[in-house]
Symmetry: C2
Subunit: 376 residues, 2 copies
């Protein structure tokens, strides 16, 4: 029996995402572990032992579903397996769901390893505001436009907006589900999931046909965080599941980002808390996100309209002269000097400086502020 | 002649806020410096020399205004002088306006040193949004309610909202002006300035009657930052003067804070940039601000509705059982075990745990989710 088959059996004998599984697979080959569970020693957790009785029937059912829905079973070490997922082996299972998945069921034509290589998770509130939808969709579109795959959970709200934003720009997207990859969950997003599978991938560690539970949503979150180069939270209340994904991203050493919003909105409270606690970097647009994904070593573009204005960069005396000048009132050098608290010679020198920069204009009878000098 | 008189003359011979003044006063007594300027050596800046001719007349004019408007002249070392202002002597004058003021003209009945002791600067955009007005006013009210003096610049927008928020709670407020403390600037805020003077203070380093200029606004900002224990920016565009105040606060080692807003609002762009660049801590409410003012050593209250939910804190098996339970469908222990992927014994143990926590209910024929178990 191949390792892929052993892993498939493991995924049916255990609960995928169970941290004990990850720990055991550090020391034991999948085939050995399957054999040990089938032997049923006292060290094997009861629920795993109980599932042995129906294993063969379930393998057959899963294989039928795989065929019916055009799924494939991808395992560690295969060409399509993204190394990024192996990072989960090195995370302390403090979050109580851990380890790399034993394998992934995949629906869609994309290649997982290639799509995950440059990728961003965009997650957030299901019951987000119109602001959340707009920002998630725009940042996802910017990411897609830069060739970055958008990873999310296909839930209502921020997740769906992020997938849609990426697809709108012709980008690829990966939906990681808490149920079987053959199921459309939530049902209302069936058309979206079909499009995601066409342009990217629908992925799950849960066997085909499996229904989602709260625990499975939580263990699914670690896969979203691990697949992506960084996680962005767009709107999350204080207890949002999106913050769980962010914690996984942090534990994995990935970029962690959050979008701020009005402090009067509960849907941004989790984002603000994450930034305040240093768990996420504040980002406001696609450019910020791409810079964070690129990492601290990346070159940052000079920002348009940066902090230091042209006014700030002028010598102090020239600034006083600029202050003294008017748009409509022609002033003599003497008049400028008086207003600026400078000598006539100093004022004259500054006026020449400002004229060279196009900030002051010499005219009949004296000096005026140049039209372009609106550099507040 | 007293030192207070020497300092008054200095403020009329020089431009208050001129960094050269701060540097000279590190080594020379005010009286000596006045004498040196009056002697007019070549080391004395031209504009200072030029002002000597009209000094006596200006002293008389200022004294008349002081009397007319009920101002007082407060100088370093006097009982009302806040030591906080002396911190300006230790800041590199990189911002090109520096040093402690030679003295302050003050209008109002409050005592400056006492009011500044626990104080918060709230600054921001003149053309702020309704959101900015609301947040500035609310946080200022929270500060006032905690006995913290709100310091600002009496400008339109955020400044005025902050003063008003403090006054609304019966708190004291300090307005630091870029013009003479006798002037109502902007004129539309005259009634507000009158109330501030009644409940707190209107303060300026500029001589009475002096008009504001861009340079004076900038050097005024350092006084706002220095008087307050920390500076909070509520709405600031990328080039807002409020960010200048924040930089001063940073240079002085004071608490630096910014309120986030929608990323779609240009009026929050400066705040977001400051947080992103690590120049300000993100704050969302009065409680955050008071915690920052108290400093890192202060005890932080346990937050309501914190990150770890009751669900997160349950053992993994108990979480699965909680997932499996329903509100309306009574399940046998066997049924719960099947859904949770646990043995009957494990499921039974978890149900007892959940029952003790009031999350599961035992009823005729089996188990139900308890009503209070909405702990998502």
């Amino acid at each position: 029996m191949s390792e892929a088959d052993d892993r498939l059996r493991l995924s049916l004998l255990t609960e995928p995402g169970d941290p004990r599984l990850g720990i055991l697979l550090r020391d034991v080959e999948p085939g050995e572990l399957v054999a040990a569970i089938l032997r049923g020693g006292s060290s094997i957790p009861g629920p795993w032992r109980e599932r042995t009785a129906t294993l063969d029937a379930r393998v057959d059912r899963v294989k039928a579903r795989v065929e019916e829905h055009g799924l494939r079973w991808v395992v560690p070490g295969s060409r399509e397996w993204p190394c990024a997922l192996d990072d989960l082996a090195h995370v302390e299972a403090a979050q109580d769901a851990g380890g790399p998945p034993v394998g992934l069921w995949i629906r869609g034509g994309g290649r997982l390893a290639a799509l995950a290589e440059r990728s961003l998770a965009v997650v957030g509130a299901r019951d987000c505001t119109a602001y959340g939808t707009e920002v998630a969709s725009e940042i996802a579109a910017d990411a897609a436009d830069a060739g970055v795959t958008v990873v999310s959970g296909a839930a209502f709200g921020v997740d769906a907006a992020a997938h849609r934003g990426a697809l709108a720009l012709g980008g690829a997207s990966i939906a990681v589900l808490a149920c079987g990859a053959d199921l459309d969950y939530p049902r209302a997003n069936a058309a979206l999931l079909t499009r995601i599978a066409e342009e990217g991938l629908v992925v799950s560690e849960q066997p085909p046909g499996q229904t989602p539970t709260k625990s499975r949503f939580l263990s699914r979150n670690r896969l979203i965080a691990a697949l992506a180069g960084g996680t962005l939270v767009v709107e999350a209340a204080r207890r949002s599941g999106a913050l769980n994904t962010l914690r996984w991203s942090d534990a994995l050493g990935r970029a962690c980002m959050a979008v701020p919003g009005p402090v009067t909105s509960q849907q941004s409270a989790g984002c603000h808390r994450a930034v305040r606690d240093g768990k996420a970097v504040l980002v406001t647009e696609g450019r910020d996100v791409l810079a964070e994904l690129a990492g601290p070593g990346a070159l940052s573009e000079p920002e348009p309209g940066g902090a230091a204005t042209e006014f700030d960069q002028l010598p102090a005396d020239a600034r006083r002269v600029l202050d003294a000048l008017q748009w409509r009132e022609v002033l003599t050098v003497r008049g400028v000097a008086d207003r600026a608290g400078l000598t006539t010679r100093e004022a004259g020198r500054c006026l020449k400086q400002l004229q060279r920069r196009g900030l002051a204009e010499s005219t009949v009878g004296g000096w005026l502020l140049a039209r372009r000098a609106d550099i507040g």
